[in-house]
């Protein structure tokens, strides 16, 4: 086990380094016009644009820039934003934004898992009955209709019906409800439909039939056999899901005006804010790699039959 963890940690580290290096170099291959708006072209002369770029440090050779990036990173300095929030320290941006996305992401994960799983179990247990059909209908609607449509309807109509605010306000808890629910709609369907599928599959296995014949109660079989086995494929993704809640949601945060991380990476790429892109890529890729790693470990805990390395057991 220890050897496995060590090996995986090393692999993860190499992966992260590679991702950062590749992204860094690719950003340097983009044309420098991304640093300017259309207005800048009308107001600045060619020479002034060069001076501007020079002061940003983007005219240095890419490897030199990479060296600067690494050395300041190692000394704990994440640098400053260039175009998205000119001159603002990236640590400040993260400090201001991560909390919002994490809070909503966490709430939504909890809602999705509890409601989604309960729904999934209920559907599996009432296969082909009303609950199952309603649940399937819900999942099909949520996953097939473009989310913008129903999210927008929720924002405008549901808020009107219940007298809830249309935007998020930090100091008005009732304004947190709609975004948290909206954020969960799709993942509720995801959890429900997969759990149902795995359970139905599992229930048709020979050993379950055997247990039934042996006279165990339906409840006992569900709890001790079906659910445990079904949790394995779900558990593997949980750590990533929880770690990546900080990345936020582009659509929901935009609709409800939540100042979270949602659009940050996209904005930074669009406006060629290389410093911000690099740091975000570093964070997100690290979290993904760690998430997968933790997922593997979690599976072992859930299902003792699974072994991570051959030498053990």
């Amino acid at each position: 086990m220890k050897r496995y963890i060590l090996k995986r940690s090393l692999q993860s580290f190499v992966t992260i380094c590679l991702v950062i290096f590749v992204v860094f170099m690719m950003l340097r291959m983009m044309p420098t016009s991304g640093y300017f708006t259309r207005d800048d072209y009308l107001n600045m002369t060619e020479e002034m644009r060069m001076v501007y770029l020079k002061n940003l440090g983007v005219l240095d050779p890419p490897l030199v820039q990479f060296k600067h990036f690494l050395s300041s990173l190692l000394s704990g300095d994440l640098g400053r934003s260039v175009t998205v929030y000119p001159k603002l320290a990236i640590t400040t941006i993260l400090k201001e934004k991560v909390g919002f996305s994490a809070a909503f992401g966490f709430a939504s994960e909890i809602i999705s898992i509890t409601i989604g799983m309960s729904l999934g179990i209920a559907m599996a247990r009432n296969k082909d009955k009303l609950v199952d059909n309603l649940g399937t209908g819900y999942a099909v609607i949520v996953r097939s209709i473009p989310s913008l449509i129903y999210l927008f309807l929720i924002q405008v109509w549901v808020s009107k019906i219940f007298g809830l605010p249309m935007l998020f306000y930090k100091n008005r808890p009732e304004s947190w409800i709609l975004p948290a629910i909206s954020l969960s709609l799709s993942s509720i369907a995801w959890y429900a439909i997969w759990l149902r599928r795995f359970m139905v599959d599992e229930e048709n296995r020979e050993y379950i039939k055997f247990a039934k014949v042996k006279g165990f109660s339906q409840k006992y079989i569900m709890k001790h056999h079906v659910l445990r086995n079904v949790l394995v494929p779900i558990a593997i993704g949980l750590p990533s899901d929880f770690l990546l809640i900080i990345s936020g949601s582009l659509i929901i945060e935009n609709l409800y005006s939540i100042p979270g991380m949602g659009g940050l990476l996209i904005n930074a790429i669009k406006q060629m804010d290389n410093n911000v892109v690099q740091i975000l890529v570093l964070i997100y890729s690290s979290l993904s790699v760690i998430g997968v790693f933790l997922g593997d470990l979690l599976v072992v805990l859930v299902d003792p039959r699974i072994r991570l390395s051959e030498s053990e057991g």
């Binding site: 044309p31 016009s33 991304g34 300017f36 708006t37 259309r38 207005d39 800048d40 072209y41 009308l42 107001n43 600045m44 002369t45 020479e47 002034m48 001076v51 501007y52 020079k54 002061n55 940003l56 400053r80 175009t83 998205v84 929030y85 000119p86 001159k87 603002l88 320290a89 400040t92 941006i93 201001e96 934004k97 924002q155 405008v156 007298g163 249309m166 935007l167 930090k170 008005r172 009732e174 935009n254 609709l255 409800y256 005006s257 939540i258 100042p259």
Partner: protein, 633 residues
């Protein structure tokens, strides 16, 4: 039963806690202005502003030397009075005494506003490392500023300028034309005679900054509410990035009696639909109404509140590519009759109706310089000068004339077998905008570059149809090319277009604001034309100090440009439908600069302004403006 009643009471009480925020009012007007922004304000560093939202926030929290009043006239702000020498090259401003900078709690700081603060402002933007992007607007106005900047920039670039960086910086006070004569007197020495210098002072680049404070916060200047100081009517009391900015009335403000609204509240929304909905729920002071929303509101109770805002100084014009990679178009573009055919063949009113279906003709503009913006000492509008008046008032759209011009162009440029003189078949490659084989024969291929935005696409297809119908299918073939990502990178920079249109803003109070940028080597010459006659006229105009003579010369230059169809203005910006509780025409007005975004004097009533009320106030205001300007100021 009892239990359910007690629950009901608890729930009602909690609900009333949340909904019970009542709106404060003073007298008959409201105290808080609620607004939204959808493009983020990146920074509030006054020298690096980039969006209207940021303009509004800075304009209301920092003052410059002068400002606009509600009639658009320039009036004293931090400067109490000023004088200039005879040839308008030295301007001296006497500052208001006892004005102090305040911090983000509204408390007076130890820093008094002095003449030095204005010198420091210029010193800040003159440092290339500070990256003030609009610097070029004023770099050639103040004496020595341009050279100072380029000495530093060249030094950083490794060019030997014969001096060290420190030496250049030390030379600022001697070489750059801005000086604190005493604590309350600042003097600007200009490079050339500039009678309209005051109109530059409402641009943020002339704003003051406190040196000691700037040194303290360093690079963080303007990145949050506690890294900047305020001397305006408001200070920023809340700044949650991408969420909420609250400006609170500055009780230490020199003109606090005219700050009628106590708080300005701006929150971010995802799109404009939310704005209308929030306005209807009473959460906003005003909102804009799109053409589609207008249709939906027709016949509802809201219809009586919708009014059309004034158009602004932004002008849309078509640019032709005189150095096109498409040899057929290049040949034709350099022919006056063909350009006239284009001018007369495009129906501007139809294009305008894409934006404003109800009154499209209102938004037509045929001149480069906007109307109602530059008024000479006798009260005559620049666009009413004899050179421009006929152009301003006549719609150039005339299909018959277009056809005639096209036939003349064809007769001049083509052989009898419809091949174009001097051309042979070739390949045209405009990257992802267009690529085709040119046969060197009629019809002429014209690449119309546009974006994938629905309205822009509609507009391009409309123009293609018009040209086909009015110039003849046998004469012209329009190829519509789409830029998917960056219009600048795909279209303008590589010159991948034959015909393109864009909007252009107006920067300060002189025709040179756009006309010098349109000279052969100016930054607005995106079609690559070469017109020495126009350049010469502009140069001559720039040398005139008398406003009337100056305008006359400039109007001559503009007329030359338009008569020879080097570009085709067609529409104004602005003029959206709106609803608001704020009375119109109470706050500073202007066609450019920053101070027009001030909320000084704003009045917000409890009910939305009705269309009738709006028009009444507008008529009255127009009358007052006319009187003011007729008096000759």
């Amino acid at each position: 039963m009892k239990r359910s009643i007690s629950w009901l009471i608890i729930i009602t009480m909690i609900a009333s806690l949340f909904t019970g925020c009542s709106k404060e009012t003073s007298g008959s007007y409201e105290d808080v202005y609620y607004s939204t922004f959808s493009t983020e304000y990146k920074t509030l560093n006054p020298y690096n502003l980039s969006s209207t939202a940021a303009y509004t926030m800075v304009a209301n929290s920092i003052d410059g030397l002068v400002e606009n009043d509600k009639y658009g006239m320039i009036v004293p702000s931090l400067a109490e009075s000023w004088t200039n020498n005879e040839d308008f090259t030295v301007w001296t401003f006497k500052l208001r005494e006892g004005v102090f900078w305040v911090d983000n709690t509204g408390a007076k700081t130890e820093y008094e506003l002095t003449a030095d603060d204005f010198v420091e402002g210029i010193r800040y933007i003159a440092e290339p490392k500070n990256g003030a992007k609009n610097f070029s607007t004023i770099s050639k106005v103040i004496d020595g500023l341009y050279d100072y900047y380029w000495n530093l920039a060249d030094f950083d670039d490794g060019v030997d300028i014969g001096k060290t960086r420190e030496e250049v910086i030390a030379s600022f006070d001697d070489t750059v034309g801005v000086k604190a004569l005493d604590k309350y007197t600042v003097e600007y020495r200009l490079r050339s005679s500039t009678p309209f210098f005051l109109s530059y002072l409402i641009i943020e680049l002339f704003y003051p900054v406190e040196k000691a404070y700037l040194d303290k916060v360093g690079e963080n200047f303007g990145t949050s509410m506690d890294t900047m100081l305020y001397n305006g009517g408001y200070y920023i009391s809340t700044w949650e990035r991408d969420k909420l900015v609250v400006l609170t009335k500055n009780e230490n403000y020199w003109d606090k009696d005219n700050i009628t609204v106590k708080e300005l509240n701006f929150q971010k929304v995802g799109d404009e639909i939310t704005g209308l909905e929030m306005f209807q729920r009473g959460e906003l002071t005003g909102c804009s109404v799109s053409a589609d929303q207008l249709k939906a509101l027709k016949g509802t109770e809201w219809e009586k509140y919708i009014y059309l805002k004034d158009k602004n100084t932004v002008t849309y014009w078509f640019t032709m590519n005189f150095q096109s990679k498409n040899p057929e178009f290049q040949t034709f573009a350099n022919n006056l009759n063909f350009r006239k055919a284009l001018l007369h063949g495009i129906d501007r009113v139809k294009i305008s109706s894409l934006y404003e279906p109800n009154n499209p003709a209102f938004f037509i503009r045929n001149t480069i310089i906007p109307e109602n913006t530059l008024i000479d000492p006798e009260g005559v509008d620049y666009t009413d000068y004899p050179n421009l008046k006929p152009i301003k008032d006549t719609s150039p759209y005339d299909p018959a004339l277009a056809k005639e011009c096209m036939q003349k162009a064809v007769a001049e440029l083509c052989n009898s077998d419809k091949t174009i003189k001097g051309l042979s078949p070739s390949k045209v490659d405009m990257d992802n905008i267009a690529a085709f084989d040119s046969d060197g024969k009629l019809p002429v291929e014209l690449v119309l570059a546009t974006t994938t935005d629905p309205i822009e696409t509609k507009k391009a297809l409309l123009i293609a149809e018009m040209l086909k119908a009015n110039l003849g299918e046998e004469n012209i073939k329009v190829v519509v090319g789409y830029a998917a990502n960056s219009f600048q990178d795909e279209v303008f920079s590589p010159m991948n277009f034959d015909l393109v249109d864009d909007s252009y803003s107006f920067r300060f109070g002189d025709p040179s604001a756009n006309l010098t940028r349109l000279t052969t080597d100016g930054s607005l010459n995106e079609g690559g034309y070469n017109i020495p006659e126009f350049d010469k006229l502009v140069e001559e105009a720039l040398a005139k100090n008398d406003i009337k003579e100056r305008y006359t010369k400039f109007s001559e230059a503009e007329k030359y440009m338009l008569d020879n169809v080097y570009l085709m203005p067609y529409m104004t910006g602005g003029g959206s439908y709106s609803m608001s509780k704020e009375l119109p025409y109470q706050t500073p007005m202007g066609g450019f600069g920053l101070t027009r975004f001030k909320m000084k004097g704003a009045k917000i009533q409890s009910k939305p302004v009705t269309t009738e009320q709006y028009n009444e106030i507008k008529t009255q205001h127009d009358k007052e403006v006319k009187e003011k300007f007729a008096k000759g100021k």
